[in-house]
């Protein structure tokens, strides 16, 4: 039975919430600012060995032989793992769609540069790396394919020969009378776009300590795991173990953004432990490993897209053809990323018909991994670019064409053609607020003056929906089973009245432990620092998933409030007995159990909990002496998608509107962001500091995507990026001072009206910067259609313009 939980802040059993909705200090921070948080690299265990991994230098090569005999003789080496071992002891990785997975070490052939081929466990990392040099691998290089389009050609090298083709997945979704919409439209705006590979790059790489228990035949892995229960299932499948023989203990991690990766490293360390008599084996990925072969490459997309528009600016149809280079295997959920735009396919607009033609292809690049936003950021780059092109063609202002097509407040809940339902919003008010904040008219005048002076200055106004509270159900369209992603917590009150909550996830940066403490402190009328939040590993946590898909804030709130309500009901029953009345006459306010309307007839929650544990003789009949409650929350209203992939896939729909002003340097192609304004509406802000923090962080990531970050491969699929000297992360000098403001349109469906907000600005910062660049370049008659819009790309565009260059 699901507990009835508060839907609004006013429903909390608190006379005045002191913590929820306030910008409180985070309880995580003291350990982080002192360097005392137990990041995995800090962990030392008795007898621990260190792992180093030998990786393929070839993008595509048969492995003829692996000779590890000299490495095994090297002093300090305890074990060497090769393809023979993994063939004997493991299964290939599960993938979506099924059947595109490989073993954690290459066995028959290597499919990308950096693919693990062998690994060593030794007394130190340096000794293990020394030993790698003694392993002899005989390769027979094969022709490689680095280009998604070439991978589709007849006679292209096959990544998986048994598949007979490099097409991992191909699907055409059609929603509504889309061909009719295009036939009837006054204008059809079409273009091609390219989004190059980029990705998460958390400041901490992945790390793990795996240990095989040879007596019990079980494995325990400690590390930087974003979704530990999900990870445990994957390990059980790989090792062929019952799932309760895999224990995943998640440590605080230095960021993730979906791109922590780590499955192969975890498995390799575990198998080395198995070979090394069960000693724990630590593997800490270094940055070069992360950049070449880690979990940080996402979205390698070619788009062809069209928008059907009427003369008055009404948009009626949207067609997208996607070719996505998933890389050498399906192990990193690239297919899910490509399918996620179904949740927001037509953005903020009332476009009535749409089509999505997706082709996912394997090449000899690194397998894609998730990254913040998962799939929509490139999709919005396409949609918002086409909307701007339509405005330009119709002579409309870019803000006005958007305003004309918005879903209106009285239309919610609103089902978009691709099936998802948006919960609430007021897009026009959001637009007006950001236009006011930016003083849009004045910005346009400033732009006109700059243009008269020969400067390339442009402005964009873009908007997007952030789908919040992810569920697997949407992804059965690409082969992922399941409906319902649970998040559970257990709240315990001890005999002294102290409150502890166990959660199934660890610290990652979003401040979720603080959120748990805020909710519980208000619910039970205590100070925040009286709440203890602890990580429960997969052996002891209630069903859980953790952060991902902008879900944890909402899901955690649901779980905490559900468990708190169950506890409250227990306390009411016990206190009623102690005070010789009925539970129906009782209430709990600010942590006091009171008889309604009777002054001073009250007991503190701590006394009730203490009585439950110490005086079971005083409990009502049938009541267990257990001041503890577990609640597992999952979003309501989920179902399998229909034959066109349509379903309610995300519970909440946050929205935002950005106004950006940029200048492109005519001589160098460098872009400077002159002004940046944001209004963001993610419903109730449970912790405004956390929300703002994630917003500004996502803007910085979006700037990196738009202007800087790119994993470059040569035509033979050799990666040309291996350090932060080549992969350009945004620095403090690349991110402008951004003015932001909040709108609050609560979700009618979520606990306390909060909407998923963890991914937010990355959905539209890349689109917004490119649209602003193209507004700047419009007088030259050229437009950027490739991300990142690096100086060399823009310089070439400017040079290609049929325009006097000496102005």
């Amino acid at each position: 039975m699901t507990a009835k939980i508060p839907q609004k802040l006013e429903d909390l059993p608190s006379s005045e919430p002191r913590w929820v909705g306030k910008d409180v200090k985070r309880i995580e921070d003291p350990k982080l600012v002192t360097g005392l948080a137990d990041f995995i690299e800090n962990l030392q265990m008795p007898g621990m060995l260190h792992c180093a991994i030998l990786r393929s230098p070839h993008p595509h090569a048969l492995i003829k032989s692996v000779d590890a005999s000299e490495a095994l003789k090297h002093p300090g080496v305890s074990a060497v793992l090769t393809g023979e071992d993994v063939l004997k002891w493991t299964n290939p990785a599960m993938t979506v769609p099924d059947g595109w997975g490989v073993y954690c070490l290459a066995t028959d052939k290597a499919r990308f540069v950096g693919e693990p081929v062998a690994a060593v466990a030794a007394i130190s990392r340096s000794v293990a790396e020394d030993a790698l040099e003694l392993i002899e691998v005989e390769y027979e290089p094969l022709p490689a394919v680095a280009d998604a389009k070439k991978a589709l050609e007849e006679g292209a090298p096959l990544i998986f020969e048994d598949k007979g083709s490099n097409v991992i997945h191909k699907r055409l979704f059609t929603w509504g009378e889309v061909d009719q919409a295009f036939a009837d439209a006054d204008h059809v705006i079409s273009d091609s776009f390219r989004w190059n590979r980029l990705g998460a790059n958390p400041t901490e790489t992945f790390g793990v300590v795996s240990q095989w228990d040879l007596l019990e035949n079980s494995v325990t892995c400690r590390g930087a795991f974003q979704s530990s229960s999900h990870f445990a299932l994957g390990r059980a499948a790989t090792f062929g173990l019952p799932s309760n023989r895999v224990r995943i203990i998640s440590h605080p991690h230095g960021g993730s953004f979906g791109g922590k990766g780590g499955a192969r490293g975890t498995d390799i360390a575990a198998l080395l432990s198995r070979k090394a008599d069960g000693r724990p084996v630590k593997w800490i990925e270094d940055r070069m490993e992360y950049l070449i072969a880690g979990g940080g490459q996402s979205w390698d997309r070619f788009y062809e897209a069209s928008l059907a528009v009427n003369a008055d600016g009404t948009m009626t149809g949207f067609k997208v053809k996607l070719l996505d280079d998933i890389g050498a295997t399906g192990e990193g959920f690239g297919a899910i990323s490509a399918a996620k735009p179904l949740a927001v396919f037509t953005g903020n607009y009332t476009i009535g018909a749409a089509q999505y033609d997706m082709t996912l292809v394997a090449t000899n690049r690194l397998p894609q991994s998730p990254y913040r936003g998962m799939g929509p950021p490139p999709h919005y780059f396409v949609l918002e670019s086409l909307v701007d092109s339509a405005a330009r063609q119709l002579g409309m202002d870019v803000s006005e064409i958007r305003r004309k097509n918005y879903i209106q407040p009285d239309q919610f809940p609103y089902i978009i053609p691709s099936g998802n339902e948006y919960d609430s919003g007021n897009y026009e008010a959001c637009l007006d607020k950001v236009l006011d904040m930016a003083d849009y008219q004045a910005l346009r005048e400033e732009q006109a003056k700059a243009q008269e002076a020969g400067r390339l200055v442009g402005i964009s106004v873009v908007n997007a929906i952030e789908p919040g509270v992810f569920d697997w159900n949407a992804y059965s369209a690409v082969g992922m089973p399941g409906v319902g992603v649970p998040e559970g917590v257990t709240i315990s009150v001890d005999v002294m009245g102290s409150i502890t909550v166990r959660v199934g996830f660890s610290l990652e940066g979003q401040g979720q432990y603080t959120l748990a403490a805020q909710l519980l402190a208000d619910y039970f009328g205590v100070e925040m620092d009286q709440i203890r939040v602890v990580h429960a590993d997969t052996a002891s946590a209630p069903p859980h998933f953790g952060p991902g898909g902008s879900r944890l804030g909402v899901a955690l709130t649901g779980a905490i409030l559900g468990a708190a309500k169950k506890l409250e009901d227990k306390f009411l029953a016990v206190a009623a007995g102690l005070m010789q009345t009925e539970a129906a006459n009782m209430e709990m306010v600010d942590g006091w159990l009171r008889i309604k309307g009777v002054p001073d007839a009250e007991m503190p929650m701590a006394a009730v909990a203490g009585t439950m544990l110490a005086r079971s003789d005083l409990l009502p009949p049938g009541m267990e002496p257990c001041p503890e409650a577990t609640s597992v929350w999952t979003a309501p209203g989920r179902a399998e998608p229909d034959e066109e992939g349509r379903c309610k896939s995300y519970l909440t729909a946050a929205n935002a509107c950005h106004v950006i002003m940029v200048e492109v340097d005519r001589d160098t192609g460098m872009v400077e962001i002159l002004k940046y304004f944001v209004v963001d509406d993610c419903g109730t802000r449970l912790n405004p500091g956390n929300v703002e923090g994630m917003l500004h962080g996502a803007i910085a990531q979006g700037i990196g995507a738009a202007l800087l970050e790119e994993y470059v491969y040569d035509e033979n699929a050799q990666p040309l990026v291996s350090t932060f000297m080549d992969y350009l992360m945004p620095t403090i000098n690349d991110v402008p001072d951004t003015q932001s403001a909040a709108m609050v349109t609560p979700s009618p469906f979520s606990p306390l009206g909060a909407k998923g907000c963890g991914e937010n600005a990355i959905h539209l910062t890349p689109a917004g910067i490119i649209c602003a660049i193209n507004d700047a370049l419009a007088p030259l008659g050229v437009a950027a259609k490739e991300i990142p819009a690096s100086p060399n790309r823009l310089w070439e565009l400017i040079q290609s313009a049929d325009y006097p260059q000496d102005k």
């Binding site: 982080l32 230095g254 923090g693 917003l695 500004h696 962080g697 910085a700 403090i732």
Partner: protein
């Protein structure tokens, strides 16, 4: 394998000794041999700045410094920011108050770069702050809250100095 060298140095005001191979980085030596785990390693090629520490009054990348180069030096790591009563340094307080961190992995490096900046320039402009922290990468915050944190830290240190 080459033999280990003996290293004597001062860290956070304490005289310490240890042994390291010539190839061992100072970051690894601090973490593995001296158990000073607050110094984090983010890239090992001197770009991200997570491993920044103070060496003889200058901020340095401990991943690009060899342990043997620290012989006879005075180091300060993030652990050295706490006072003798384990109270947070005003810079640490400021980062908490202004949300200058999220995951916290890069934070020790930012704190040490900020420490160096404010030692040399007690009232920095925003441009000074950007100049000083331009070699530290943060993937979470988008930097604005870090700039605010450094401004607040400067204020806190100045009022502390005025008070004393």
């Amino acid at each position: 394998m080459s033999t280990k060298k003996r290293i004597s140095l001062s860290v956070n005001g304490k005289l310490l000794e240890g042994e390291a191979e010539p190839r061992t980085s100072l970051a690894d030596f601090l973490r593995d041999d001296l158990a000073l785990i607050g110094t984090h390693i983010g890239c090992e090629h001197g770009v991200c700045g997570a491993c920044t520490i103070m060496m003889d009054g200058q901020a340095v990348r401990s991943c690009l410094t060899l342990a043997v180069q620290a012989e006879g030096t005075e180091l300060m790591t993030v652990e050295g920011l706490l006072d003798e009563n384990h109270q947070l340094h005003p810079i640490q307080e400021a980062f908490i108050e202004e949300h200058g961190l999220q995951c916290g992995f890069c934070t020790p490096g930012f704190l040490m770069s900020t420490f160096e900046l404010l030692e040399k320039n007690p009232s920095p402009s925003d441009d000074d702050i950007k100049e000083a922290l331009g070699g530290n990468l943060c993937r979470c915050t988008g930097y604005q809250s870090i700039i605010k944190s450094v401004r607040l830290a400067a204020q806190k240190l100045q009022s502390a100095n005025t008070a004393s």
